[in-house]
């Protein structure tokens, strides 16, 4: 299959099995279509658990039409909505958002799945309780000055 790329026992060591460029994933890369054919979901916990969409009242999408929060969209609470009564989960999110924080980090710190955090944040955005800064869209490459700043920042580590 991949003989052309195999190492031929150089210096008597175990050869690598090379990558075969001609190989492809059956009916195409499945990611944008949901789980691939053959993806098993049977490993998921099947016992009783708090269903993640309970706190969203069954909704699986944020209320903002067309908008989507990336994992690294940064969220920050508006200063002028302190004291407005919130559900416990939304209040916890607001507390975390006193400083800028990413959607993924909110999810991790509160141990709430990303999809659920997105919905709760959608509510908070709709209420004007938080503001956000989206990550650069895929079609728009990061600016050179951003890249240079990232390079400088990593070098300072």
């Amino acid at each position: 299959m991949s003989a052309a790329y195999d190492r031929r026992g150089a210096r008597g060591r175990e050869p690598f099995h090379g990558r075969d460029r001609t190989r492809h994933w059956g009916r195409g890369h499945p990611t944008s279509e949901g789980p691939a054919p053959g993806v098993r979901t049977g490993d998921a916990p099947t016992g009783p658990l708090v269903r993640p969409y309970t706190i969203t009242k069954g909704r699986t999408r944020p209320p903002t039409a067309g908008g989507r929060l990336d994992m690294i969209t940064i969220v920050m609470a508006m200063g002028d909505h302190e004291g407005r009564p919130q559900d416990p989960e939304r209040q916890e999110i607001l507390d975390l958002c006193r400083r800028p924080i990413s959607v993924a980090e909110i999810s991790a710190r509160l141990d709430i799945p990303l999809t659920v955090v997105r919905i709760l944040l959608g509510d908070l955005i709709a209420q004007g309780d938080v503001r956000t800064r989206a990550a650069a869209p895929m079609t728009q490459l990061p600016e050179k000055k951003v890249l240079q700043a990232v390079l400088d920042g990593i070098r300072r580590l």
Partner: protein, 200 residues
Amino acid sequence: MASVDSENRTGAQEAIPQAVKIIVAGGFGAGKTTLVGAVSEITPLSTEEVMTEAGYGVDDLSGVEAKSTTTVALDFGRITINQDIVLYLFGTPGQDRFWFMWDELAEGALGAVVLADTRRLDTCFHAVDFFERRQVPFVVAVNRFDGATAYETDEVREALDISAHVPVLMADARERGSAKDVLVRLVTHVIDGRRPALSG
């Protein structure tokens, strides 16, 4: 895809930093989270994405309680670059059955590190394929494992069949300095790729 971004209408409020991300890919146990942890300013966190069998395309789950769900854990770390930029490092899910997360991870990524484990080199073939197809710039970091045979970077490059311009370097994911070198090499590679080609 439309993004929620209210930054434009915030006026005098404190500026919100912009986030960028780098993906760390590789097979299960290749050292992805170790590398992230070596450079992250926070202990790596884990976030979960819940996928229902019904999938994306469903607005309301009422009445589908019997559908099973799959939980995918993603480990990530953070590096604050400056007041305006925060860098996130995301490890890919190790198991092949979580491929559906990769598109979301790759979206907007600055670049990727493919961690190669020479004891199981084939476990990173999929990652190399994916980033080539998506034209996400990447470097290959060969993680040194105790007891593993030492291979030259050229041997790894040949076995992975990657083009000459893709950097391949040796690394120790546990070492902050080594992990840092890998990231510096990646970002340099990304910047180089932006320059107009000198020929052709």
